[in-house]
Amino acid sequence: MSTPTVTQDAPIAELVAEAEFAKIGKRKSRHNRLWARMVRYRWLYLLLVPGVVYFALFKYAPMYGAIIAFKDYVPFLGIGGSQWVGLAQFEQFFNNPDFFRLLGNTLILALLSLVIAFPVTIFMALMLNEMRMMVLKRTVQTLIYIPHFLAWTVVASLTYLLFSQGAGPLFSFFNGVFGTHVDFLTDPAWFRPLIVLQDIWKNTGWGTIIFLAALAAVDQEQYEAAVIDGAGRFQRVWHVTLPSIRPTIVVMLILQMGQILNTGFEQIYLMTNSLNRQVADVFDTYVYFVGITQGAYSYSTAVGLFKAVIGVVLILGANWLAKRFNQDGIF
C-alpha cells in the first residue's frame, strides 16, 4: 500500500494549489484544469498507475462475478447465460431457519474479539512500553510475535494436542485441579472461550506493533511535566499515554468494525465438530459449506455480498460516530 500513500499526499497538496488557482481565473473549464494539473504533476500521477491497475484488475474486475448473487448460476451456462432470479437468493438466505443462529454466532464471536482481544492488545502494548529493560522488552516482543506466523492449522493442532480428551496435558490439568470432567474441544460452552484464547495467543503480539509505534511518538516532555506535577506511573499512563494514542485506537477500532463479520474461516472450520456445531457455525463456514460442498454458488455469493455490505455499513457508521465525538476518522 505504499503507492497510495505517496499519491494521497499529492492530491492534498494539489487541492490547496487548486483553490488558489480557482480564485485567479474561472475562464478555464474544469476539464482543462484537471488536465493541466495532471501534466504538471505527471510523474506523481505516473506513480499512481500500478496501484490503479492493481485495484482495477484484481479488486474491481472480479466484482463482475458478484452479479451471480442475482442469478441462478450454472457453470455450464456461464455468468452471462445463467438466469436472472432477482433477490431470490437473498430471500432464501433471510428465510433460512439457520439465519439467526448464524448471525448470532458470528456477532457473538466478533463482539468477544472486539471486547476482549482488542483491549488485550492495547494493554499488552502499554505494558511493553512501560518496560525499562530494553533486552527483556525486545525478547518478549519477539516471542509474542512468533505465533502470528503460524498457520491456523498449526494452532488448531496444538489446541487439539493440549486439550484432547484423555491425552491432552491441559485437559488433565484443568479437570484434575477442578475435579470436573469438561471436554473443552466438544463442549459447546467452551467453544467461544477457546476461539478467543487462540485469537489472543496468535494475534496479540502482532497487533501491538502499531500501538507501540504510536506510543513511541508520544511527546516525552508531557511525561516530564506529569512527573513534576507529581503523577504516579498509572496516572501517567492514564492521563498522558492513553490520550496520546487515542486517535490510533479509534482508527484501529474503525478498521476492526469492517472485519466484524469476517470471523475467520480456517480457525473456526478447524475447531468445529458435530458436538459444537450449534455454536460454531458462522457466515464464513456456512458460505464454504453451501457454496463448495453443495455447489450453491449463487446462494453463497449472496451471503458473501450481504457480509460485505454489512462490513461497509459498519465502517461508515463507526467513522461517523468517531467524527461526532471529535475524533479523527479514517476518511
Binding site: P4, G258, Y297, I315
Partner: protein, 520 residues
C-alpha cells in the same frame, strides 16, 4: 479513499472463491466453438485428475502405446486431484472444453450442469459398444441422474467393509473373531476392561473411530453398524415406499448400541474430534483394538506393522468382513460401486456422429489390451507377469517407478464397466498374498447380502439445494446422542427438524422419482 476501498474489498473478497475464480470465464459456451460444420475429430482430448506428485509427461510411453491401441491421439489434460472440482466448473464455464472429462461424483454442481444440457445423455448409446455395456447394471443405474446415464462410470470394489482387530489381544483374552454385532460389543468391552495388553493398567479401549469428514451415508463406522442392524443404506424400502434409513426403528436400535459403547467408554475418548489421518495410530500404539473400515486399511496397517516388527506382525492383526445384526441376518454395507464417471460435454462434441466417434474410442479404451496398459503398465518395464498376476519390478528402478506413477495416473481413465480384464496385483510376500486372496473371497460372499441404496439414482431438487445441511442435522444428532448430549426426545426433535427443514420434501420427491422409474 484508498482505505475505504481496501476495507470494502476485504469484505468483498469473501464473495466466495467462485466469484473470484470465475473472472475471465464469462463468455458463454455457445461462443466457444470453431463453428465449422462439425468435422470428424482428429484427436480426442480428455480431462482427468492425477493423484501422484507429478502429472505424466507429454509423449510418455504409456500414452504413446495407448494411442496405437486406440488408433487416435488421446490428449489428456491432467489436473491435480485436489483442485479437480473447481477446475471442472471453470472448464465448463470456459471456452476450451475437452471432448470427454472425468467427473468425480454426482454432486450438486454436476447435476445442475447436466440438467442445463452440458452433457450427452448416453442411456441409449452404450448398448452399441460391447466394451461399454455394464455387467452390473445396478451400479450404472446408481451412477445415473434419475435413470439418465450421463457418463461411463469408473468401477470400484463394491464390497470393502472390514472389521480390523488386534489379534494378539484377542488371543490373550481367549476370545474369537466376532461374527455378530453382539460379539463385537463383547470384544470392545473386554478390550477396555480386561487389560488386553497385560500391563496391569486400565489404559486401553475397544473401538477406534475418528471424526468423520462426511455426514450420514458416507460409509463411516457408524453407517456400517447401522446397516448391520438392518437400517438400510441411506434409503430403505418400507411398505412399498422409500424412507431414509435414519427414520427406521432399526436405526434407533443401532444408535442405542453405539451409545452403549460410547457411554461405557469402550471407544477412544476423542471420537468426536480425532483427525482421521491419525486413525491407525492408536491401533499401532496398542491403545485401541478395533477399527471398522475397509480392506485397504487392513493392508495399510499390516504394512505399517511389518515395518516396526517384521517377525511377529502377522500375529498382531486379524480382520473379518461385515457382521450379522441382532436379527441374525447379514446386512452388508457396500460402497456405491463407482467413483465418478467419464462424461461427454455437448459443447465440444457437437453432433451425434462425433459422439459415436468418441464412444468408439472409449470402447477401445476399455479393450483388454488397453485395460492392461492403463492399469498394469508395460510388461517388463514396470511389472512382470507371474502366475497370471502383475508383480511390480523389485527392487524398483527409477524408470519403473516413473512408469508406475504414469500408470497410476492413466488408471484414472479406467472405465471397465464390463468387468476387469487386467491382471490383479501380486502381493509382495506369501502372507500378504493369502490375506489378499482371503479378502477377495470374503468380499465376494459379503456381496451376496449387500444392502444397496435403492435411491442412489434419484436426484431430488430439494436435496441438491439443501442436502448437505439436512444430512448434517442427522449426523450431528447421532454424535450428540452417542455422547449423551441429547436423549431420545432430543433425537426425535432432530428428526423433526430434519423433516421440517426439507426432509419431508426430499422424501416426497424421491418417492415420486421411484414410482416413475421403470428400471427399478
Amino acid at each position: 479513499m484508498s482505505v475505504t476501498l481496501k476495507r470494502f474489498m476485504a469484505g468483498a473478497t469473501v464473495l466466495t472463491v467462485t466469484a473470484l475464480a470465475l473472472v475471465g470465464c464469462s463468455s458463454s459456451p455457445s461462443a466457444s466453438s470453431t463453428s465449422t460444420a462439425a468435422p470428424k475429430l482428429d484427436k480426442l482430448t480428455v480431462m482427468a485428475p492425477y493423484l501422484s506428485t507429478d502429472a505424466p509427461t507429454a509423449d510418455n510411453e504409456v500414452g504413446q502405446t495407448l494411442n496405437k491401441i486406440l488408433g487416435t491421439d488421446l490428449e489428456v489434460n491432467w489436473v491435480p486431484n485436489s483442485s479437480y472440482g473447481d477446475k471442472t466448473n471453470i472448464t465448463l464455464a470456459g471456452n476450451d472444453i475437452p471432448d470427454a472429462m472425468v467427473i468425480q461424483g454426482k454432486d450438486a454442481g454436476f447435476v445442475k450442469n447436466a440438467n442445463a444440457g452440458a452433457f450427452w445423455d448416453l442411456t441409449n448409446y452404450l448398448k452399441d459398444y460391447p466394451n461399454l455395456v455394464s455387467s452390473t447394471p445396478a451400479v450404472q443405474q446408481a451412477s445415473s441422474v434419475n435413470g439418465k446415464v450421463y457418463g461411463i462410470y469408473r468401477p470400484r470394489d463394491t464390497m470393502r467393509t472390514a472389521v480390523i482387530i488386534r489379534k494378539d489381544w484377542l488371543k490373550k483374552l481367549g476370545l474369537s473373531m466376532p461374527k455378530t454385532t453382539d460379539d463385537l460389543y463383547k470384544i470392545a468391552k473386554a478390550f477396555t476392561e480386561d487389560d488386553p495388553d497385560g500391563d496391569g493398567k486400565k489404559d486401553t479401549y475397544g473401538l477406534i473411530v475418528p471424526k468423520w469428514p462426511g455426514s450420514v451415508g458416507s460409509n463411516s463406522p457408524w453407517d456400517a453398524i447401522e446397516s448391520w442392524y438392518g437400517a438400510g443404506n441411506v434409503w430403505t424400502q418400507q411398505n412399498g415406499k422409500l424412507v431414509q434409513s435414519f427414520t427406521t426403528p432399526q436405526w434407533k436400535k443401532a444408535l442405542a448400541y453405539e451409545k452403549k459403547i460410547v457411554s461405557n467408554g469402550y471407544i477412544n475418548p476423542d471420537y468426536a474430534t480425532m483427525d482421521s489421518v491419525t486413525w491407525n495410530t492408536p491401533f499401532l500404539n496398542g491403545q485401541g483394538g478395533i477399527i471398522i473400515d475397509t480392506y485397504s486399511r487392513v493392508r495399510q496397517i499390516t504394512s505399517l506393522m511389518e515395518k516396526t516388527d517384521p517377525t511377529t506382525y502377522q500375529n498382531m492383526i486379524a480382520w473379518t468382513g461385515n457382521l450379522e445384526g441382532p436379527d441374525g441376518k447379514m446386512h452388508a454395507l457396500p460402497t456405491s460401486g463407482y467413483s465418478g464417471f467419464i462424461a461427454i460435454p455437448k459443447s465440444s462434441v457437437k453432433t451425434e456422429a462425433q459422439l459415436r466417434q468418441v464412444l468408439s474410442v472409449l470402447n477401445k479404451l476399455n479393450s483388454k489390451q488397453a485395460q492392461i496398459l492403463i492399469n498394469n503398465g508395460i510388461e517388463g518395464k514396470n511389472y512382470n507377469l507371474v502366475d497370471g498376476r502383475a508383480q511390480a519390478i523389485n527392487p524398483p528402478t527409477p524408470e519403473s517407478t516413473l512408469m508406475q506413477n504414469t500408470v497410476n495416473s492413466y488408471a484414472q481413465l479406467g472405465i471397465s464397466v464390463g468387468g476387469n480384464k487386467f491382471y490383479l496385483p501380486a502381493q509382495p510376500n506369501a502372507y500378504d498374498q493369502t490375506q489378499y486372496d482371503a479378502q477377495l473371497k470374503t468380499a465376494a460372499s459379503d456381496l451376496k447380502s449387500a444392502v444397496y441404496n435403492p435411491a442412489a439414482a434419484y436426484v431430488s431438487n430439494t436435496y441438491v439445494l439443501n442436502g448437505a445441511t439436512l444430512d448434517n442435522i442427522i449426523s450431528d444428532a447421532r454424535i450428540k446422542y452417542d455422547a449423551g448430549q441429547i436423549d431420545d426426545a432430543g433425537l426425535d426433535a432432530a428428526l423433526k427438524q430434519w423433516a421440517t427443514s426439507g426432509g419431508t420434501q426430499v422424501t416426497a420427491e424421491i418417492n415420486k422419482l421411484y414410482k416413475a422409474d421403470k428400471n427399478k
